[in-house]
Each structure stands twice: as structure tokens, then as C-alpha cells.
């Protein structure tokens, strides 16, 4: 191997991903004295966090003085159908307020209460107004704050760089192999700890709110390195994505529309949530609302373009523009709809994966030494269904903890490991093979087939024969992907990048389908038409996916048992906790 064929960089901590979790991890790792590098697939500040809209959940108790971490913890566990790792839900609820205040101290400018404190809004499944927000562009505020604070913290950022595999020596992660998207040149990172903060997997589905980056890289990298993934069957279909025009199908319509009083109606003008969740109505949890809309459409009561009507036009126009400015512009400019005058058409869109890398809650450590994960790439925090607003707070709480955990681990290592050249050569060969084929399928075609498969067979309602068909089709697509052919050069070549990303998407899709097959019940984001009930025996088990040889092993492990004092909070009536 000619050394000039790749650059080499050494770090104590390498963070892969520069969204909320990645940046927060990098800030913390640097603060702990670790020499830190951050790799991101896009330009800095463009990660998926920028698209988060509604807010960050934290029991600051600014609007409802009776809110507390205990109420937030209880809401999170109930929203997750108690499949959450109790310790993650606890840490999250306890630490989110400090993380939000910290953002404010770093320059975030949240909307205010009349007495000048951070304003909080209602959201589905939260039993108090809890989401600190900036209109409907909270994610932008968060990422820009972390970015502008972060660039002064001394970590090095590698923009438009994709990691294609982790380097493993003696069962320990010791670095990563990557390429620069701009010119196709290779990079070998040597690192004592690696933090995966790569977001989710939505690009495997046809209708999704996720960007091109969401190809499950973190999940797949961890899997290939031998880490366990848990609860991959739990994919969140956000109830409200745009359904028209075709080009914008799936783009997110923030839950804040409902949080601020928006109502859902079917084509008959009925406020149909009365049938599905009369108590919470539009502010029910996302899994419930998504299935309700899907069912209304399926039974012939959909809007003209196959969705439901979401209406906020009963509120004053100026107020709507102030509270939901980007929704106003999004619909005005992309769909010719004035949301201050009439309803939007919305339908479910693939939004988030609850499942992910199994981590140790306090440190973010995966089951492989040297490998950490945070944010959407990790699993356990949200159980079977995530509450809106709990993602941004998750990124901050566990981004920080993973950064700290990774930095501590790096301190325990005396130096960089020697990396076996054969691994690097294999990674390089895998990258270049698609150029060398004289013939083969287009990555765009394989991607389109995968998206159709996941959308139609592993979607919002699942059934055994569909899942079996999906697994069969994914296996076939894997064979196609092994023959994929790329045209053009290594200079900024999206076809090549997609060909590489396909591998991760296929791995994650298989993990989702196989996990969904194993969970023979309906719970949270996972609904089985052939097993419509929530079964108590499945409530004590995580689904576990792990690489064994060349096959994907799927099994179950017991859910960590909650201590009695926390169990009491979850089991108590809301009024007894909210005091």
C-alpha cells in the first residue's frame, strides 16, 4: 500500500456526525482534554438537526410550575410503551433542563414567556407545555449555536467526508476509513475512541422527512464492527408530512401545528381523533396519530391527495405567521396553500428510528470497546415510540455523555493502535470496485427498489408475509448492490456516494425487517396486522441484532429492570406525580 494513496490523522476521539449529538459530543470531548476530530457528510451546519422544528423537551417548568423531571420521565416511558431503557429516560429527563440552559448560555435565543424566561409549548404525549422553541425552527437555532460555539473549542472538522468502515483490531475499534466526497481521496483516521452520531435510516423508505444523509451509516458501521443493535423494528412514522405536490411528499409538517391548536379532519369534516384517542385528540402520541390518519385514508375518508386535513386557520393570521413561520412559507411556496386561510393536507412520513446501537446509558459505550454512540444512532432511550421534542434533548444529554465517555476511554489508552494494512486495502478495494465493472445495475435503480420495498412491505402496518417478502427482496437487492456499477470519476460523484451508502441502507433495512418479524405483537411504532395486541411477554424484551459470521443473527434479551422508586413514578396516576 502506497502511503500517498490516503492521508492519515490521529485523534483521541473521532466523532462521526456533526448534528446535535455529534457537535455536543465533540464540545465535551474537547473540554475533557481529548484531541478531537469531527467528520460530517455535508457542510457543517447542514446536518439533519437543522430540520427539527417544534422544540426541545425539558422540564424547565416555566409555563407549568408543576412540571418536573419525574413527570417528563413518566411521559417518556409511557410514550415509549415502557420499552425504554429506564436509566436513559431518567438521565434524559433529569439533565435536559441544564442542557437547554447551557445552550442559552452559548447564545441560543429561545422565544420568551411574558416574564422573560424560555417559553415552552405543548406537544403530543407531554403532560405539560415542555418544548423550548424558536418559532418552528428550533433545530436551526440549536445547530447554529453548537456550531458557532464549537468552532472555538479546538476540535478539527472534516466536512463532506464519509466513513465507509470502522477499523477494528483485537475486537476493539481503533479508527475509521473514510473518503472525501469532493475528490474521492481516502483518509485513515486512527482514534482511541470513536463516537457514532450519524442520525437515522429514513432514506431506505420512499416517503420520508429525512435527507440524503440518512442512510443508516452509524447503525451499519456499528453492526459491521460487531456491536449489538436493539429494537430496530421501531421506526417512527411521523403523522404529518406533506402529501402534495409529488416532489415534496414526505417533507415534515411540524407537530407544533397541533401543539399550537391545529385540528385534524377527514374528508367528511369529522375530527376523527375522537375515535382513536378522545382524551388527547390531536396531541396523542405520534404512533397513534399516524395510524389514525393512515386508517382514515385507507377507509376512503382521505383528502384529495391521500392525506388528512390539518387546520390552524381558526387562529389569527399574524399569530400563525409568528408561531409557525416556516410552515407558512413552506406551504405558500411549495404547495400554493395559505395555512392562515385553509387547511394543509398531511399524511404519515418515515421520520425517525427508535432502535439503534445498544449503549451503556451513562457513557454511551457500545458493546464493542472503543465504540460509542449517541442520538438517533443509539437505541433504548425512546423505547417503542419517541415523543416529539425528546430527540433534540436526547442529542444534547447523550451527546455530552458520549463525548465524555469517549474522552475518558481515550485517556485509558496509551497510544494509537497499529492498524493492519489488509483492512485498509480491503476498504479501498470495496470503494473502487464499482468503477471497475464493465456492466452492472445503477445505484439509483437499486435505491428506488429498496425504498419501494420498505415503503410497501415494512411500513406503518406490517404482516408476516410482507416481512418475509421484504427480507427476500433485500437479499436480492444485496446481490444487485454487489454488482453495482458507477460511471464518472472520483470527483464529487453522487452516483458513487449512493453506491457506497446503499450497503448501509440494505443492512439497516434487513435489521428492521428481521426485527419486525420477530416481534409478534403491536407496540408503539411497530404495528402488526396479524398480531394487533400488545403482548405483556414482549414488554420485557429488547430485540437484538448482531453480526455472526456473514449472517445477521436476531434474538431477544431481557429489558433492564427498573428500580422500584422509578417504577412507582411510572405506575402512579399523573396527578400524583405532577404536584
Amino acid at each position: 500500500m502506497n502511503a500517498a494513496r490516503y492521508e492519515t490523522h490521529d485523534f483521541d476521539v473521532l466523532v462521526i456526525g456533526a448534528g446535535g449529538a455529534g457537535l455536543r459530543a465533540a464540545i465535551e470531548a474537547s473540554a475533557a482534554g481529548a484531541r478531537t476530530g469531527v467528520v460530517c457528510k455535508s457542510l457543517l451546519g447542514k446536518a439533519h438537526t437543522v430540520m427539527a422544528e417544534g422544540g426541545v423537551a425539558a422540564a424547565l417548568a416555566h409555563v407549568d410550575a408543576k412540571d418536573s423531571w419525574k413527570v417528563h420521565f413518566r411521559d417518556t416511558m409511557l410514550g415509549g410503551k415502557q420499552l425504554n431503557h429506564w436509566r436513559m429516560a431518567q438521565l434524559h429527563a433529569q439533565e435536559a433542563p441544564d442542557r437547554v440552559r447551557e445552550l442559552e448560555h452559548w447564545g441560543a435565543v429561545f422565544d420568551r414567556t411574558p416574564d422573560g424566561r424560555i417559553l415552552q409549548r405543548n406537544f403530543g404525549g407531554h403532560s405539560a407545555p415542555r418544548l423550548a422553541h424558536v418559532g418552528d425552527r428550533t433545530g436551526l437555532e440549536m445547530i447554529r449555536t453548537l456550531q458557532d460555539h464549537g468552532v472555538h473549542q479546538g476540535f478539527e472538522v472534516f466536512m463532506e467526508v464519509t466513513v465507509s468502515r470502522l477499523l477494528v483490531e483485537g475486537g476493539r475499534v481503533v479508527g475509521a476509513f473514510a473518503y472525501r466526497r469532493e475528490n474521492g481521496r481516502f483518509i485513515v483516521f486512527r482514534a482511541k475512541s470513536v463516537v457514532l452520531a450519524c442520525g437515522g435510516v429514513g432514506k431506505s423508505f420512499r416517503i420520508t422527512s429525512n435527507s440524503w444523509e440518512y442512510t443508516g451509516d452509524g447503525h451499519a458501521l456499528a453492526y459491521e464492527a460487531g456491536a449489538e443493535l436493539i429494537d430496530m423494528e421501531f421506526v417512527q412514522f411521523h403523522p404529518t408530512g406533506m402529501v402534495w405536490p409529488p416532489g415534496v411528499m414526505g417533507i415534515l409538517v411540524t407537530e407544533a401545528v397541533r401543539g399550537e391548536g391545529g385540528v385534524l379532519r377527514n374528508s367528511k369534516g369529522e375530527r376523527f381523533m375522537e375515535k382513536y384517542d378522545p382524551k388527547r385528540m390531536e396531541l396523542s402520541t405520534r404512533d397513534m396519530v399516524a395510524r389514525a390518519i393512515y386508517t382514515e385514508v385507507k377507509e376512503g375518508r382521505g383528502s384529495p391527495h391521500g392525506g388528512a386535513f390539518l387546520d390552524i386557520s381558526h387562529k389569527p393570521a399574524d399569530w400563525v405567521k409568528k408561531k409557525l413561520p416556516s410552515m407558512y412559507h413552506q406551504f405558500m411556496e411549495l404547495a400554493d396553500v395559505d395555512i392562515t386561510k385553509g387547511p394543509m393536507e398531511v399524511g404519515p412520513t418515515t421520520h425517525y428510528i427508535m432502535g439503534g446501537v445498544r449503549v451503556e446509558p451513562d457513557t454511551g459505550a457500545s458493546t464493542v470497546p472503543g465504540l460509542y454512540a449517541a442520538g438517533e444512532t443509539s437505541g433504548g432511550m425512546h423505547g417503542a415510540n419517541r415523543l416529539g421534542g425528546n430527540s433534540l434533548s436526547d442529542l444534547l444529554v447523550f451527546g455530552r455523555r458520549a463525548g465524555l465517555g469517549a474522552a475518558e476511554h481515550a485517556k485509558s489508552r496509551s497510544g494509537q493502535a497499529t492498524i493492519d494494512l489488509a483492512q485498509i486495502e480491503a476498504a479501498e478495494r470495496a470503494m473502487l470496485a464499482p468503477f471497475e465493472r464493465a456492466d452492472g445495475p445503477s445505484p439509483y435503480d437499486i435505491h428506488a427498489k429498496l425504498q419501494e420495498t420498505m415503503q410497501s412491505l415494512v411500513g406503518i402496518f406490517r404482516v408476516e408475509e410482507d416481512l418475509a417478502a421484504a427480507i427476500h427482496e433485500i437479499a436480492r437487492l444485496k446481490q444487485e448492490a454487489a454488482r453495482v456499477r458507477v460511471l464518472g470519476s472520483r470527483e464529487f460523484n453522487p452516483g458513487w456516494h449512493l453506491a457506497i451508502d446503499l450497503k448501509a441502507m440494505l443492512t439497516c433495512s434487513e435489521a428492521i425487517a428481521r426485527s419486525a418479524q420477530l416481534r409478534k405483537e403491536s407496540r408503539g411504532g411497530h404495528a402488526r396486522l396479524d398480531f394487533p395486541k400488545t403482548e405483556p411477554e414482549f414488554g420485557t424484551k429488547n430485540t437484538v441484532v448482531k453480526k455472526e459470521g456473514e449472517t445477521m443473527a436476531v434474538g431477544q434479551s431481557p429489558l433492564p429492570e427498573m428500580p422500584a422508586e422509578l417504577r412507582a413514578i411510572v405506575d402512579a396516576e399523573l396527578e400524583a406525580v405532577k404536584v
Partner: protein, 244 residues
């Protein structure tokens, strides 16, 4: 279904040409949809940046029929489709490939700006009306279209001694934050060269977030610089009292 012809810049730092592509027009289609269609059907290596497809991330900046725009919010039905739609990369930044340009200079400028520096014993309470104007600046999605059209950059290539509208907006957001205690007027005057701006408002015109860049950010900052550095009375006052 109608057909549209696109002429898309294909090339790199060494040069390039406009290449013709035909696409079927769907209802509500935007330019970015067309570019993706071209990628998936015939030009798999066509380089373009994008992320959110909803005007929230500021990645897909380009020049459509000569107008600097976000491709994700430029509707085809807003363009004269009887003639080819010409899509070129932003002109003020070096081309990397096709529609992708090297915008790294912007990230270097950003590093020069001292971050938010709260006052000691800040009460962390302020009224919504105190931050309305700061929030306007914080809407910026860093699409760099304002940088692309700014004459100081586009015609005069003053990058080394100039910050550009994007970073005047960022500084304005910091300087007008009720809790911030740092002073960035020296930086504005010297390193960011705010004096070069001759307020032609081209930046304001292309801002997809409708930030009043010139009126609300640049002009007030220019006034601060003038007040602090060119006001003779204040200079005497500073000398006598030692206060800033």
C-alpha cells in the same frame, strides 16, 4: 405532461459547458427535483449539494436563469419553460464540480468572530420584544447567496479583507443580543471590512429567509463603527474617562 429542457453546467475548476437535458414536468416540481431526475436518469455523476429540500438548510444554492436561488424552492411553474432553464453554480465561489462550489472561505470568516459572551451575573431574563430583531438574524440558513451576489466579493474579490453580508448578519445577532458583552466593532472595521459595503442591497434581495440584511444588520453596524471609531467627541470622552 409538459417537457422542459434544462441546460446544466457540467465541469470543474478547469472549465466546463452547459449540457442539455430533457425532463417531464410534474405538478409543483422545483428545480432541485429536475436536477435529481437528471441524476437518476442519465447523469449519475452530476454533482449537487442538497439536504432538507424544504429551504431550511441552505445547501442547494445555485444560479437559475441567472438568478441566485435555492433550487429546492424555485418552482418550475415560476420559470418560462418555453426556453431552456439554465442552471449554473454560484459564480463568486470556485467551482469544485458541476453545481458544487468551494464555500470554505465562509467557514474561515466565521472562525474570526468571537462567540456569544454573556455578561457576568446575567439575569437570563429578557422580553420577547428585546430579541425579535436578534431572532430575525438567527433565521439565516447559511446558503451564502448573499455572499455570492455581494459586489465586494463578486466583482472585486475582496475576500481576504472582507466578511460579507452573512457575517455582518451573524455579528449583528451577537451585538444586539441583550446579554452579550463582547465588542466586535474593531473586528467589523478592520478584519471584516464593513466599510467596503456600499449598501446596494443586493444581498437583501436574494435572501431566501427575507432577512433585511442591509437595513437591519449592516447599516446599524456601520453606525456603531462610525460612532466608536470616527466620532471626535467620543474619542475625547474615551481618552478622558478610559471608558469604551
Amino acid at each position: 405532461m409538459a417537457e422542459a429542457e434544462f441546460h446544466v453546467f457540467r465541469g470543474d475548476a478547469k472549465g466546463g459547458t452547459l449540457q442539455p437535458y430533457k425532463i417531464q414536468v410534474e405538478e409543483g416540481m422545483v428545480v432541485l427535483d429536475a436536477i435529481h431526475h437528471i441524476q437518476a436518469h442519465g447523469a449519475p455523476d452530476l454533482a449537487v449539494r442538497w439536504n432538507c429540500k424544504a429551504a431550511k438548510c441552505g445547501s442547494c444554492s445555485a444560479e437559475v436563469n441567472g438568478r441566485p436561488s435555492l433550487m429546492c424552492k424555485t418552482r418550475l411553474d415560476s420559470l418560462p419553460l418555453e426556453q431552456p432553464v439554465v442552471v449554473r453554480p454560484m459564480r463568486s465561489f470556485p467551482v469544485i464540480k458541476d453545481l458544487v462550489t468551494d464555500v470554505s472561505w465562509n467557514y474561515e470568516v466565521n472562525k474570526k468572530i468571537p462567540h456569544f459572551t454573556p455578561k457576568k451575573d446575567a439575569p437570563w431574563r429578557w422580553m420577547q420584544e428585546d430579541i425579535d430583531r436578534v431572532q430575525e438574524f438567527r433565521k439565516c440558513i447559511e446558503c451564502f447567496l448573499c455572499q455570492n451576489v455581494c459586489h465586494v466579493i463578486r466583482e472585486h474579490a475582496m475576500q481576504p479583507s472582507f466578511g460579507g453580508p452573512r457575517f455582518f448578519v451573524r455579528v449583528a445577532g451577537l451585538e444586539m443580543h441583550p446579554m452579550d458583552d463582547a465588542n466586535r466593532t474593531e473586528l467589523l472595521k478592520d478584519e471584516l471590512g464593513i466599510g467596503y459595503c456600499n449598501i446596494t442591497k443586493c444581498c437583501t434581495e436574494v435572501c431566501p429567509e427575507d432577512i433585511h440584511i442591509t437595513d437591519n444588520a449592516i447599516i446599524p453596524l456601520k453606525e456603531r463603527v462610525v460612532d466608536e471609531h470616527y466620532d471626535p467627541l467620543r474619542k475625547v470622552f474615551k481618552l478622558l474617562t478610559g471608558k469604551k
